[in-house]
Symmetry: C2
Subunit: 565 residues, 2 copies
């Protein structure tokens, strides 16, 4: 049988990528990246407000067209490829990135009336203007609807759906009033491709709904009108213009519209998968399984695990999201994250040491020559707060153990170790909550480029560290979803399990823990936990503060085998 192909689209912060993959083995036959044109590399900023980060929907449409056409053009240079053999399209995006649309599901930002209105743009995931609203939502939910907070780790974020819409209502009521509904970017792209022209008929994915909009079938969908009225009566009214049901990727969002089929040179009617966030389809593209934590490591990390949806929903303290079907149908998708990983190293190398990529490499080389415990340093990885498991943005960094001889390379290593300890806190929390983790699959540039980083993680976690076979796991995962949406009859697959098994892979290189290093890191991790729980305000934290520095020195002396002469 001739090959079939699926398209995966990945809408990132600065650009959109399209990949065309062979459904037989997930091999990429064409790829293309299209940058966004507005603002700074696609992000519209406000010089007067560092918390504001928006995007222009026109950029999405343009990038969708350019990236997909570019990838298809590249695919056409591959023997065996033909456009009529493309059987489906899937898309993932950043999130929560909601945008207001009119009754015909067109972004308000495209309406000349709102041309100069930033509130009419898409509210990018990292827009933090809605901090007050998030705090109020958390407070009101704690008092009146604590069940809403259980699956999201106990705290509603300023980055999420309701915080942003409420903020819009307050600062730009004209935009709020003009919006027929609000739609996550992850749902907007499939709606565009399937030609939806009615705001009431946009298919919604459970990934965005469950992780960001407090959606759950347990309480009948979105938060109740009563709850929303406690925020603002107009939000309660908006509820009727949103949605009652959100879907896992066990069905398609719809068929490719004739208009877009024409634009892209594809067959009209091929299925477009339900959209999801990049991390979630990224986990699919990394071949996620029970017992595996997929870490998407970039400036920060997003960590994804799954647990059987026919079991009880685990209550995991401090885990930011547990949503049925958000990664794959039939599984709870569990989302955690670290607020700063690549950013923490970038801060040290570029902001403090005022160096560049070469200094990254130099410090990594020097740090690799140190043994665990040798620097005597211990750090907390909280320069950007703590997302999991403390869920507290108002935490800051800590570095402890420095002497007059402490070098920048030692600090560099201590910061990597701190992020690894932070990762271990997440793994421990999942495991003790009934979601055992036995291996970690990494995606992202740091993991692939920095061997020291991977070794330290393996030694700290005591689990093998693996690398996803694809460098574009989100787009690949979206293509997997497309192949499943197409089904086996069309040359795709009937289940994610089959599709994952065939279309995803791991790199051969793997990093296994060194038992001696792991033993030293066990001791350092115990001290990290003391500081973590103490400075993190965990009730009843057992911290022997007065001996921490001495224990680090003693460990250091044991490790280097020296002592005073």
């Amino acid at each position: 049988m001739a090959s079939t192909f699926a398209i995966g689209l990945d809408f990132g912060t600065n650009s959109a990528r399209a990949v065309v993959v062979d459904c037989a083995d997930g091999r990429t036959v064409g790829t293309h990246v299209a940058g966004y044109r507005s603002g700074e590399r696609g992000v519209v900023l406000d010089p007067g407000d560092p918390h504001l980060a928006r995007q222009h929907p026109a950029d999405y449409l343009e990038a969708l067209r350019e990236a997909t056409r570019g990838a298809l053009a590249a695919a056409e240079r591959t023997p065996g490829f033909a456009r009529e053999r493309v059987i489906g399209i899937g898309a993932d995006t950043t999130g929560s990135t909601p945008l207001p649309v009119d009754a015909r599901a067109r972004p308000l930002a495209l309406d000349p009336e709102f041309r100069d209105e930033p509130a009419a743009l898409a509210w990018l995931w990292k827009d933090h203007t809605a901090a007050e609203e998030a705090a109020e939502i958390t407070r009101i939910a704690r008092e009146h609807a604590p069940e809403y907070l259980a699956p999201i780790g106990g705290t509603y974020s300023s980055e999420w759906f309701w915080s942003k819409i409420w903020r819009c209502l307050r600062v730009a009521p004209r935009v709020f009033d003009a919006a027929a509904t609000w739609v996550e970017l992850a749902d907007y792209i499939p709606a565009v491709l399937t030609g939806v022209d009615d705001a009431r008929r946009i298919p919604r994915g459970v990934c965005a709904a469950g992780h960001k909009a407090l959606y759950s079938p347990e309480w009948g969908g979105l938060p109740s009108r009563e709850f929303l009225a406690r925020l603002d009566s107009r939000l309660a009214e908006l509820r009727d213009r949103l949605y009652d049901e959100a879907h896992a990727a066990d069905r398609a969002a719809g068929g490719l519209s004739a208009e877009w089929a024409d634009v892209l040179g594809l067959r009209a009617g091929i299925p477009v998968a339900i959209g999801a966030f990049d991390a979630h389809y990224g986990a699919v593209g990394a071949g996620i399984e029970p017992g595996t934590l997929v870490k998407i490591i970039g400036t920060s990390t997003c960590d994804i695990a799954i647990a059987p949806a026919d079991g009880p929903r685990a209550e995991i303290r401090g885990i930011c999201g547990i949503v049925n079907g958000s990664v794959m149908p039939g599984w709870y998708g569990i989302e955690a994250g670290q607020s700063a990983v690549g950013d923490l190293l970038r801060w040290w190398v570029e902001v403090v040491c005022e160096g560049d990529e070469r200094l990254h490499a130099e410090l990594s080389d020097r740090a690799a020559r140190l043994r665990p415990g040798e620097s005597g340093l211990l750090a907390l990885d909280w320069n950007n707060g703590n997302r999991t498991v403390l869920v507290d943005p108002r935490l800051t960094g800590l570095l402890l153990g420095q002497t007059l001889h402490t070098t920048r390379a030692e600090v560099y290593r201590a910061l990597i170790e701190a992020t690894a300890f932070g990762a271990r806190v997440i793994v421990d929390r999942l495991t003790e909550s009934g979601v055992p983790i036995e291996r970690v699959v990494c995606c992202g540039g740091i993991a692939a480029k920095n061997e020291l980083f991977m070794r330290i993680y393996a030694d700290v976690l005591g689990h093998p560290m693996l690398l996803a076979g694809s460098d574009q796991t989100p787009a690949l995962g979206a293509a997997v979803a497309a192949a499943v949406a197409a089904g086996s009859a069309a040359g795709g697959y009937d289940t994610f399990a089959e599709a994952k098994a065939r279309m995803t892979s791991l790199k051969e290189e793997r990093f296994t823990p060194d038992p001696a290093a792991h033993a030293v890191y066990d001791e350092l991790y115990a001290m990290y936990r003391e500081l973590h729980d103490g400075f993190g305000g965990v009730p009843g934290a057992a911290v022997e503060l007065g001996t921490v520095m001495k224990r680090l020195l003693a460990l250091r002396e044991r490790v280097v085998g020296g002592g005073a002469s």
Copy 2:
């Protein structure tokens, strides 16, 4: 009446300095510095043992000759000066820097038999080879003679007299056996100048004896034979070859020998003052008074205060030395210190940031533009342990509050602030122990060169920061002691009070606290104390660990007047 002159000699770590001053007003009429020749800038090191730091006594003799002759030659170019008008000589040195001498009071290192024996050299103050011995002395004293530890802050140091001699006994028994006695450098220089040729007749100063050798009239001089026998019976035997009495500078060590009078071109028989440590005569040269803390600020600091000797000896927890007469006759000399001040900034600028003097200046400029509390940072100044009041070398640095935007200049300022908080702990401890401190007089390069440093200290301490008028306060203080040893009949003074009043001065520039900045620093200092007591292991320390980071953020937001938008 024609002018009279006194000579002050200051034996530092790398060189010796001589100053010739006018007894009428302390004005320098001639000065000369002579470097030591051996080792690295005068310090003999051992590549195999980073703790070893020794000096060659021949260097002292050569530098004594060269510096004094150079200063006198320079003075002769000043109208009104004449060598016969020099009425006395005083000397200060580093310490504890003991050296073994033979029966004729000649250093063993000058004996060809011991030419290659590092144990026969002077054991420089910063030699740390005797860590084990110091720990044993502390342990045995705690058990059998706790009174010995009361005036030295509770812990005997590896830098001090008995630790080093015991170490010599263990590693170089041949040297120990050959030593007729051991003498502090501060006593050796006056012994040389006065022509002492009998080890039993070396005049000993109470400064070195009281601060470093556990000497006190309260228990009949040096530690008892019984106590020393608990360390080693040969140390008990050595006691008989040391001294029974040590003297304050209310008498001269003796008269200048004919031989040295000839070498230097001075009158034989002019008084040579009792020797003392650099910090102590430095305090005299800075015009120390009750209520004044003299801070000698360099790589570390030495802090000196005085309290009336006719009162009870204050028991001040964690203060490293309280010795009757060690600064001036009639006063308790009280010595405290911070383990790293200049060194802490040097570490940041040179080791971490890999910069030079220009970067020091640049960071100081940038840091000066920050308001107190603006960086959100808080640091502990323990990269080299804590000398006062925790007396714990096994403490290390801490930096807290960093974000992804924290700059090297912000850290630079936080480190200065940390040393200022450390200074305030000392001032608070003195004041609450009955030695009220109302102003600080600074000596040393950092104080004179770095206005930011002085402003921060004034704002943190809430006391005026003053600068000593002389840049060479130790040598000036030694000259003051020489003028007192000479007495008014010879054109000197009969009391230190008179001599200080005439011969020392303050610079006009002074730094007074800004009330608003002081109020912010009060809040930061309270948090510093929490961390200080907590990580320092102070029993019953009240630390609200889980809110520290949030309190810093809240203070920061209050100070910058901002907040989330």
